[in-house]
Amino acid sequence: MTTPPPLLSAQGLHVTFPGRHGGPPVRAVDGVELDIRPGEIVALVGESGCGKTTLARSLLGLVPPTAGRVSFAGQRLEYSSRALKAYRRRAQLVLQDPSGSLNPRHTVYDAVAEGLRIHGYAGDEREAVTQALSRAGLRPPERFLLRYPHELSGGQRQRVVIAGALVLEPELLVADEPVASLDASVRGEILALLLRLRDELGLAALVVTHDLGLAWNIADRVAVMYLGRIVETGDVEQVLTAPRHPYTQALLSVLPDAPGEPVVLAGEPPDPSRIPTGCRFQARCQVLAGGEAERAGVADRCRGEELEVLGGGGEEQVACHWARARVTT
């Protein structure tokens, strides 16, 4: 089986923001390679402040990268407004909070049709809107056209947001915490919708989330991000059932249903303006603190030798001296 060329690809992506009050610059995205193939669902997981949202925004051209590049369908993304407009027809963003991303004074019809109007859609607008609503699971669509956001439930609002993204028939959805603001029993239906869109329309998706259970539910591949870099990536089954990076191991161990003793990391992730030297996780690493890295003979490298950026392809990779030493010995 040959792997199809990636639909979206980030190469050596860096996004740096100037530091506040003359402080050091904030390296929000600090070297990321990531490919998303057509019809693939990739989960980008990490804690708040790890740079996952900045990465997602940068992939959509909302934040220009400081270095590196984003390519879509083999073509390098241009940042002229004309090029970006054309790009956004093919790659759409779904935001976390549907109450905040819908204009309260627009009807469902206006909200969904907005994209069509911006892009000067030549076909039947009403037809396109009803079709998008029905694809997003709002059936019969006619019942929803003239409603306002406040008349809808949270789940229905998120479906309207998804319909607004679908109406232009994009090839890629970037969903930033698509279900975080929804009730638990409603989440499953929205996630099932993303899976169905992939199966029926071949839609690829990058789902940004802090929820590893969500990745297990819907993603093919997962990328775990820590302080601006992807530290472990691979197939969901592989990474989530046999994690190799100590950070991924810790994240999984604190889930309520996880087997074994939880590894609760002390403190909080460091400030992205002060990324530690050596391995960026070393200050909180339980393997280094527990002496296991020492026994494996890699502790000095953990403290002093930075790991290279992981490749963006599908293969299982980990940015950890200790995990790699374990494989080779």
Binding site: E47, Q156, D183, G188, E189, W216, P256, D257
Partner: protein, 326 residues
Amino acid sequence: MTLLDVRNLTVTYPGGAAAVRGVDLRLDAGQKLGIAGESGCGKSTLALALLRLLPAGTKVTGEILLDGEDVLTMRWGRVRAVRWAGASIVFQGAMHSLNPVHRVGDQIAEPILLHRKETPAGARRRTGELLEHVGLPAARVSAYPHELSGGQRQRVMIAMALACDPALIIADEPTTALDVMIQAQILRLIEQLVDEQDVGLMMISHDLSVLADLCDRLAVMYAGRVVEEGPARAVHEDARHPYAAALSAAFPRIGDPASRFAPRGLAGDPPDPAAVPSGCAFHPRCPVAVEGCDTVDIGLREAAPGRLAACVHVPAGNSADARSTP
């Protein structure tokens, strides 16, 4: 000993919304009770009702016995004494519950000064101790809330709840806005404090898997009612009420092949408390509803020893108002 005994509690808001519709709960000292449910199920209203924090005009009936004394019939002076010292609440969203223009130390000291008649110096000392107890350096007393991270602010809230050595702590979604790792830190802290001080904990959350992990017993609420109650693990792993089962399945266990590419949820939305469906309130979303569910309201029945569920599929016999025995 029974610390908290809630009997047939109903709460109706001035607009007519019946947020809590007949809830019975009990909690012993040193025990951890989880209340799980989604938005609008009445779980936060329940927490507010326990300390009479609901807005004026709200109709509250039933009994709330805290150490045998009914909170609902207490005089105001007594209610004020019971708040903080008898029972305290850790609210969700520490960002909004702390006053941004006061130092956190002064905010923690306030209930100590009011309730324990401490001297300012004594209150300061106690505040420093409390902060260290929740894992923050005592020097943080002079910090303002904006200088702390979300997890640190939640620790301050917990320190405040502990300030007057209450017998009962009510935690309303204490970790909801926090990252998984910080959440694990806070949960571990709460667990440790409850264990060492023998206080009762009522923890309210939408996250049934967290509650199952932390609590001894678990009550699942839907539309203002407890629909299932029992030992926490058993309720999570083998729920008898279809809603509790669906809520449990919404938190997939990683590694479980049954949930891979199969997110599970329920069609429809939680009901509006102002328009609760007839019969069993869950029937419009219920995957196993049968004829009659839309008209007959089923009360809690004994589903197994020490377990209650309000569903027609639980064989009747052990009658409805059988109250759980600890």
